[in-house]
């Protein structure tokens, strides 16, 4: 994908193809998560005989994991700032920290899912449960893909093939990472903090 950047010289707008492509992609992702969130909003009160969202959400716990994800945005931007300075060591540290914070978040999500499951909320319990797991699951998959990309960069960096010239790669993956964080900001407020129906 970095192909054209190498074969071409400057671009019409002065922005690299890849970065522009990422932004267009993120615009598109807004519609994807919008649809998932709308689905959830339609179904938050349709929990049939299963647990209602208000019964099972654990706000303190989710607050912590939300905070973790939020801070991973900070470490991500620090990684970028480091590689831009040519500070490869710090870049590596921050990349790894970001991936770890992301993993912590995913771990929290896995824990949350299993707790919910034990409390009787399976994927097929009700429209609410299906919508909830689908939405948060999609987000989780996005985070996981982000972690994979961060780790790939980390390994490249160890092998010495992620250098100052490649700061744009870090930046683009960072954009993706921040976007996923933004989506969670939305989810956290609208789905967890806005009081949910109880049974």
């Amino acid at each position: 994908m970095s192909e054209a950047a190498a074969t071409d010289h400057a671009t019409t707008t002065g922005m690299s193809h890849n970065k522009l492509a990422m932004w267009v992609f993120l615009g598109s992702e807004c519609l994807l998560f919008g649809a998932l969130i709308s689905t959830y909003l339609v179904y938050r009160g349709r929990f049939a005989t299963g647990p209602a969202p208000g019964d099972i959400f654990d706000i303190p716990f989710t607050s912590v994991s939300s905070f973790v994800l939020l801070m991973s945005s900070l470490t991500m931007v620090l990684a970028l700032s480091a590689i831009k300075r040519g500070d490869l060591r710090n870049n590596r540290i921050w990349l790894l920290t970001t991936a770890l914070l992301g993993s912590l978040f995913i771990g929290g999500q896995v824990y949350e899912f299993t707790t919910f499951f034990r409390e009787g909320l399976g994927y097929t319990t009700s429209p609410f449960s299906s919508a909830f797991f689908t939405l948060t699951g999609f987000h989780g998959v996005h985070v996981s893909i982000g972690i994979l990309m961060l780790m790939s960069m980390f390994i490249s960096s160890l092998r010495g093939s992620l250098r100052k010239e490649h700061s744009e790669t870090v930046e683009i993956i960072g954009l993706y990472w921040h976007f996923v964080d933004i989506v969670w900001i939305f989810i956290f407020s609208v789905i967890y903090l806005v009081p949910s129906p109880t049974s």
């Binding site: 019409t12 049939a48 960069m153």
Partner: protein, 647 residues
């Protein structure tokens, strides 16, 4: 996709499996190509193939309905056939045929050598093809989808559609959707970022503009259908309760999601065709397009308004009178920008010296036939009347007039127009004219009567009707018409074969067969691999034309240069081009395994997943260029060394 942006600098390391394929020739060249022209041709061939498949399904529909209580297909088979007809025509024929034109022409029209992300471009095609294959595999693997092309829940759920057909629908369309999304991002970036020096946005040909609007619609519409299809797939495969009314699932959720995508989709289908005829009409009228900025802005307006009207497909679905009223009005006013286009095309022709060659005939066909469909669209938009019309053949008439009259005619105009550009020889104009007239007559005979049938109350998606409702005559007429359409397609095929045989051994046709206007004609016919010998510097709209003609002191048009003088001769050597790659097709090959695995046996997802992961990693580590490839002799004849444009 972002994973791919990482390491690009393994160049110089031992390459092993990552060695990129050489240009080569034969089939190897086709499956590894990243050349936008070849990919365009691949799209075109696949789309025409699927068009014939969808057409044969249409003929089966028409045979079944030719007489009351038809017995050609059983009820079950009929439902599969009409569903697959709609799905095939929309997703596997009309969209990719537009993509074919976009891929081939966009870089040429904006003065670029390729699209922004060539390997992703190849990926789009192969993933699309894999999706089309998956969809059609359903015929032999347990039954095709049978829920209609818009697949309303809960009829598509596992209870009411127990055959795997709707799984194929959900997963196959998901794949074509991914392909469209990737290619739309790619083309958006290409158009914004790769214009030749001087090619400002308002010097771009109308076709390029319409493709840009289309790509933006795709960028924002595809994720919506993706979510809808995920919900459907998860419901069917994993038992999710999205559409199960017994626990509170709402049948309207699917409808909203589908049509939020579905209405922009119809403009995704029509705008490329509008773009094509906006190139053809000025060329053959020997006049510039009338009201270029209005053409551009009306296209943008259509794209924009297309987002606020989706519920006109749901006037009777129970969305409540206020929503109905709002969507009714918003829908009507789409007629305004569309009308601007129609009238501007007419004004372009007005006062021209029009040559009615085959492409022009098809283009004029669009102007008139699309109008009929558009006007019946307005009669649906008045929601009270739509409660009588919806789900009758009156709707079927509407959308075939806009689709066949608007899209298929437009795409044929494009095929005839750009054929010499792509293949270096023209199609016979005479056969082309016969093709047009047979198609025009057949088309009106097929779909005209459907207006009457619909108003007489014939419901759509019925596998048979009883005698006595007065449907017999017009159905027979319609069936006869559909075979005339088939004849016209056969004439086209004959034309293609005959012209190719005639052209064999002949030198290519001249550089400028139509006295055309836009930049793609600056390159010789057929287009050389490297497109432009030298990236042109653009000074005006209709750049190519302005290089050929000037005005004398009386303001009359005079030729200042012959086409041969203006056109490049394609002789540049050593132009640096992106190398081909195996990985797009490998990636795409993994997806059908995953799809089939989800439907039949999860183990199958393992090889599929491995292929995909392997392709991604190989892709990332693949060197930018094969260091051994023969571009060492770069004579720097005409690389893109000029500074990129600062508009």
């Amino acid at each position: 996709m972002t994973a791919t942006t990482t390491v690009e600098d393994v160049v110089g390391q031992p390459l092993g499996v990552y060695t990129r394929p050489r240009g080569g020739n034969g089939w190897r060249d086709w499956i590894t190509t990243v050349d936008h022209k070849k990919i365009g041709i691949l799209y075109g061939v696949a789309a025409l193939f699927f068009f014939v498949v969808g057409g044969i399904e249409a003929l089966l529909i028409r045979l079944q309905l030719a007489t009351p209580n038809g017995t050609v297909l059983g009820a079950d088979m009929y439902n599969q056939v009409f569903t697959m007809h709609g799905v095939t025509m929309i997703f596997l024929a009309a969209m990719p045929l537009s993509a074919a034109f976009a891929n081939y022409l966009i870089p040429l029209q904006i003065g670029a050598r390729d699209v922004a992300l060539p390997r992703l471009n190849a990926l789009s095609f192969w993933v699309f093809l894999a999706g089309g294959i998956v969809l059609n595999l359903s015929w032999v693997l347990g039954g095709a989808p049978d829920g209609g092309w818009f697949g309303y829940a809960p009829n598509t759920g596992i209870v009411f559609s127990p055959s795997p057909g709707m799984d194929f629908y959900a997963l196959g369309l998901q794949m074509t959707g991914i392909a469209s999304l990737v290619s739309s991002i790619n083309l958006t970036v290409t158009i914004l970022n790769m214009r030749a020096p001087g090619m400002t946005l308002f010097r771009m040909p109308v076709f390029t503009w319409m493709i840009l609007v289309t790509q933006l619609l795709l960028v924002f519409a595809m994720p919506v259908i993706a979510v809808a299809l995920f919900l459907l797939a998860f419901s069917r495969l994993f038992g999710a309760r999205f559409f199960d009314p017994s626990v509170g699932g709402d049948a309207l959720l699917w409808q909203h999601l589908f049509w939020i995508f579905g209405h922009p989709e119809v403009y995704i289908l029509i705008l490329p065709s509008f773009g094509i005829i906006s190139e053809v009409i000025p060329t053959f009228s020997r006049k510039p397009i009338f009201g270029y900025p209005f053409m551009v802005f009306s296209g943008i307006a259509i794209g924009f308004m297309g987002w606020g009207v989706w519920a006109h497909h749901m006037f009777v679905s129970g969305i409540g009178p206020i929503s109905v009223a709002a969507f009714s009005l918003s829908t009507m006013f789409i007629a305004v920008p569309t009308g601007v286009k129609i009238l501007n095309w007419m004004a372009t022709m007005w006062g021209g010296r029009i040559k009615f060659s085959a492409p022009m005939l098809f283009a004029v066909g669009v102007v008139s036939m699309f109008t009929i469909g558009g006007l019946s669209g307005v009669t649906h938009a008045i929601s009270p009347a739509d409660t009588q019309q919806t789900d009758t053949y009156y709707i079927v008439a509407h959308f075939h007039y806009v689709i066949f009259g608007g899209i298929i005619f437009g795409l044929f105009a494009g095929l005839y127009f750009w054929w010499p550009k792509v293949f270096g020889h023209q199609l016979s104009d005479l056969i082309g004219k016969v093709n047009f007239w047979v198609m025009l007559v057949g088309f009106n005979l097929t779909f005209g009567p459907m207006h009457v049938l619909g108003l007489q109350g014939m419901a759509r998606r019925i596998d048979s009707y009883s005698p006595g409702f007065g449907f017999e005559f017009w159905n027979m007429v319609s069936t006869i018409g559909s075979f005339l359409i088939a004849l016209s397609i056969a004439i086209f095929v004959v034309n293609v074969i005959r012209s190719a045989m005639k052209a064999k051994g002949q030198p290519p046709c001249g550089p400028d067969p139509w006295d055309a206007r836009s930049l793609e004609w600056l390159t010789p016919n057929p287009t050389p691999v490297h497109d432009f010998d030298e990236i042109p510097v653009v000074e005006s709209l209709d750049e190519f034309w302005h290089r050929k003609y000037g005005t004398d002191e009386n303001g009359r048009v005079v030729r200042v240069a012959s086409a041969e003088e203006v056109c490049q001769d394609g002789s540049a050597v050593g132009v640096h081009l992106p190398s081909p790659s195996f990985w797009p097709i490998v990636f795409a090959a993994g997806l059908p395994f995953i799809a089939l695995g989800l439907i039949f046996n999860l183990w199958l997802t393992v090889p599929g997943g491995l292929l995909v992961v392997m392709a991604i990693y190989a892709w990332v580590f693949e060197p930018v260029d094969d260091p051994d490839a023969a571009h060492g002799d770069v004579s720097e004849v005409a690389d893109t060394t000029e500074e990129a444009p600062v508009v």
